[in-house]
Amino acid sequence: MIEVENLCKTYGDTRAVDGLNFVVRPGMVTGFLGPNGAGKSTTMQMIAGLDRPSSGSIKVNGQDYCRSKAPMAELGVLLEAKAVHTGRSARNHLLALAQTNGIGRARVDEVIEFVGLGSVADKRVGGFSLGMGQRLGVASALLGNPRTVVLDEPVNGLDPEGVRWIRRMLKDLAAEGRTVFVSSHLMSEMAQTATRLIVVGRGRLIADTTVDDFVARASNSFVTVRTPEPEQLRQLLIAPHVTVLVEPPDQLRIDGLTPEQIGTAAWRAHLPIFELVSQQASLEEAFMELTQDCVDYRSAESEVAA
């Protein structure tokens, strides 16, 4: 269980995290979603006690993590792929971390085998690929058999087999009753693994919902129409249960009518139509729509489109 209350973090004039409130519950995977720069990593670092909150509080399993007597049994973290001294072997890296909490060699060997690094465990970490680094990070997070796991972008740099492995592991960890909190900037990734979703943008909470709700909201279909008379067609179609958005120069986006209804109405009014397409919003679009006001870095193209 992770409880975040009124959490703020400012760096100079920048508010990286701005009054976050949420609870991450045990027994399910909770996704932490937001565009780059939304404050996900900062929040996770504060949960792990690495960054000090400017204000607000965080409890991990009901207590302040920084006062925990057995930190590795409470919380396992994967923050950056390579928070590792490059000159040390994977085995010695894990052993050094394990020893701080009184975990022995046998458990280190067990975790190395579990993440599939057995053949390279005695090689220097400096030569590891991004994917191997992620596996090493996962190994260090699992050393203490923790009740709560926080993973920042765990599938980054993994090959498809590795991605599948992570997804299964997250579900297994949750099925064992652990709290599993995973960040991603990809909605599609979260839709495959998470049960609950916490969505942030610009350091603020945008949504605290279930993935099912989110998918239901996203599955609204709509129709796009290309016509030389967008304004006239809009006037014609507008009705209490219908929303019509004009997308210049010549496009309409219509919610609440079928393509048949629109085509028939336009034909009766003698309005030419060049294109009539029924569309399904993807999860990714629903996510972008939700966060579009909160994106710090967007390309010039999407600036115009928005």
Binding site: Q45, A48, G49, L50, D51, R52, Y65, C66, R67, S68, K69, A70, P71, M72, A73, L75, V77, L79, E80, K82, A83, V84, H85, T86, G87, R88, S89, N92, H93, L95, A96, L97, A98, Q99, T100, N101, G102, I103, G104, A106, R107, E110, V111, E113, F114, S140, L142, G144, N145, M169, D172, L173, A175, E176
Partner: protein
């Protein structure tokens, strides 16, 4: 019992203790190459330079310079070995900041200060033990090479100077580590360490004595080096143990600042 994280049969009741963190730091210390390299260089400088200077003294009719003795001549390598142990000390902590390892270290010991305390302890034990043996070897080899000018272990200041060399190097190393923890940057920390311990003392001799007589005895290296039976050109040297105590005070202040920074700021 658990499928997702293997079968944690081997997990006792977990708990962070100072002893366990020290054990972890020992593992870190012995599992990177720079430890062996820097300590080997320190041993070679300690013994090798002592032998060279002792042989030079023996071959010259003039004997010892003002303020120096058979003891201090054999232990002259201390001031070169301090460069190697200083680099070792800085790397032990700044290497973790440079690679990002510090975040992994702090995440498993969120109280943070046990990590710094354990690093200081491991460094102190390693430097003191290796440098005590090296200083003893440098002393004995030096006395043999100096022939009739040489003295024995029964000479009043001999044991104090041998232990003094090891103590001086240990405190210099702890100062270097505190600098590394404060600045979190290898290059800056080593530059300042070398500047203060190695370059500043000889540079002050270029200034008029009417200025330098007021402060050179309080420089950390000049204060601590008084344990080594030599005045090192300082006009008003401190007594051996008060001088060393002053050197310890500088180290303590830096360690306290490093601890404060560690506790207050983001890792």
């Amino acid at each position: 019992m658990s499928t997702a994280v293997g079968t944690p049969t081997s997990l006792p009741s977990l708990r962070v203790t100072y002893w366990r963190v020290a054990h972890s730091e020992w593992t870190k210390f012995t599992s990177v190459r720079s430890t062996l390299y820097t300590l080997t260089v320190a041993v070679l400088l300690m013994i090798g330079l002592g032998a060279i200077f002792s042989a030079i003294v023996a071959s010259e009719a003039a004997g010892f310079g003002p303020g120096s003795s058979a003891i201090s001549t054999s232990l002259i390598g201390t001031f070169f070995a301090q460069l190697a142990v200083g680099v070792l000390a800085v790397l032990m902590i700044s290497g973790e900041y440079g690679t990002g390892m510090i975040r992994a270290s702090m995440a498993v010991v969120p109280q943070r200060h046990p990590v710094l305390a354990a690093k200081l302890a491991v460094l102190a034990v390693a430097v003191f033990s290796t440098m005590l043996l090296s200083a003893a070897a440098a002393f004995l080899i030096g006395q043999v090479l100096m022939g009739s000018l040489g003295v024995g272990l029964s000479e009043p200041a001999a044991l104090r100077s041998i232990f003094g060399a090891a103590l001086y190097l240990t405190v210099a190393a702890l100062t270097g580590m505190a600098l590394g923890a404060l600045l979190r940057n290898t290059a800056a920390s080593i530059t300042i360490f070398v500047g203060v311990f190695f370059l500043l003392p000889p540079l002050t001799s270029l200034l008029p004595p009417s200025w330098t007589d007021h402060f050179v005895q309080y420089l950390p290296s000049n204060a601590g080096a008084m344990l080594l039976d030599d005045s090192y050109g300082v006009a008003y040297p401190l007594a051996p143990w008060p001088g060393f105590a002053l050197m310890c005070c500088y180290a303590l202040i830096l360690v306290a600042l490093a601890g404060w920074r560690l506790r207050r700021l983001d890792a």
